[in-house]
Amino acid sequence: MSKRAPDKSDSTSVIPVARVSAFATANSSAFATANHAQEMAAILGLSIRPEWEDSVVVNLKLLELAAEQVLAIDLPDDIEPAVVFLAT
């Protein structure tokens, strides 16, 4: 049993600080941007103050990276969501 080097394909388990700090200004996607956050906030009845924007965008980018990883796996059509509901 030995220690392993991190799997390079596992890109989101922990993201280097240097990469995270660039998220707020990278504009690398349509999802993780201040404009998108403000548009969604208006739809949801939320207010995002200007000083909160960078942090919200960083969090959007982290979610987007997680989603990329989750969406990358092909699942059989008959796999049902694990949300629990029991008729009683």
């Binding site: 049993m1 030995s2 220690k3 392993r4 080097a5 991190p6 799997d7 596992d10 989101t12 388990s13 922990v14 993201i15 280097p16 600080v17 240097a18 995270v20 998108h36 956050a37 969604m40 906030a41 949801l44 009845g45 939320l46 207010s47 995002i48 103050r49 909160w52 942090s55 919200v56 960083v58 969090n59 959007l60 982290l62 979610l63 990276l65 997680a66 989603a67 990883q69 989750v70 969406l71 990358a72 796996i73 699942l75 059989p76 796999i79 049902e80 969501p81 694990a82 949300v83 629990v84 029991l86």
Partner: protein, 479 residues
Amino acid sequence: MSTGSPSFATVTELAHALRAGETSAVDLLGQTLGCINGLNGAINAFTDLTADRAKGEALAADKRLKSGLEHTALTGVPYGVKNLFDIRGVTTRAGSRINRDNAPAARDAFGVAALEGAGAVCVGALNMGEYAYDFTGENAHDGDCKNPHDVLRMAGGSSSGPAAAVAAGMIPFALGTDTNGSIRVPSSYCGLFGLKPTFGRLSRAGVFPFVASLDHIGPIARSARDIALVYDALQGDDPRDPVQGSRLTELVSPALGQGSDQGIGRARVVVAGGYFRERTSDFADEAVAAVAKALGAENEVIIPEAARARAAAFLITASESAGLHLQRLQARASDFDPMMRDRLLAGSMIPTPWVTQAQRFRRWYQNEVSALFEKVDLIIAPATPTVAPAIGQSTVTLDGVLVPVRQAIGLYTQPISFAGLPAMTVPYWGAQAGADGHLPIGVQLIAAPWAESLLVRAACYLESAAICKALPPKMPLQN
């Protein structure tokens, strides 16, 4: 033991002293409240004391003990609960500023009521990360909870107060909650035993939710046997929790002590490889190796897609919690801890197909992980990559890469709770136990759904073999 000094007696030892008349529940309560009064300024574990209720419960316990009425090992034993458990007459703050404007709880959470039924004495509510969305124990509203082994270090979250209070010797056990690791992480940092049962095993009714599809309750204590005693008291069917599994009560404490190996000799024990061997500190590796050697684990098993499981848990956590808090975000966004607020704001904007895929992946992952347990009984994995970071520390270096500390803490706990598996943190100190500045780290024992008995027996064996143990803080704590 002088009045107000910390006590490191176990529940079993306290129960013996109470039954033998060496102390009374009322005296024990006085000792406990004195200790909390003396230490809480240094640790910041308790946010609410319930002295009047506790006095009534202690008097009732003494009456039962003295008159020979039915009692349990918990009768007269003091405890506390993370402040998202409802305690009747107390406002359930859930670590937040916003919820403290709510009316006091009208009734106890199921867990609190169950412990009252067992005769235990509720002394108060304990600090936590805001709305349980936290691994650090830092709290912008109630102040940071301190690690009793080094008050400059994190207690771990989000069940920070429960772990800190037990590690400091204020109380022998506490109740916490665990969504992605919030019992197992603070147990690791504070050197304690902590059990996250199977998802759906224990009722969460009366506990302020975080992520309904991932939330659990469970005990934190200084001995494995105490975990068993509390876990047994918390079992029971409760229609108020819609996801509680339809399971009969399966007591685990009666099986303890049967044979020198706690009956685990035939268990197939392996170490989690792959993802769970990456990014670990040397001390985490040492802890896993020591536990593996003691339990005779020579082989590794790969838990498939653990990294993707963590990513899916991250999405579901962000989405469900944002949905839960949407109205509070609309009305009182500036009253949240800023880091919590910005995570929730982002979580409210997640496209639905991402969450649906995450929940579908969870089903697939559960099937894959369940298949592992056809060949193994117990899996060993680190609980945290490192010992407790410093309070306020924002980054940590793992495998030579600087990463955000909040992302790193739950690396090894999140993929386990995502599958709903029961898992228990056991504390490891190693050969440097007692040395200046040395801190504990936890190891996870992981079993198949509903196999809590195996976890507790394995933990009890490790404790009796002196591999895993809870130790008092080295330095005296003072306000």
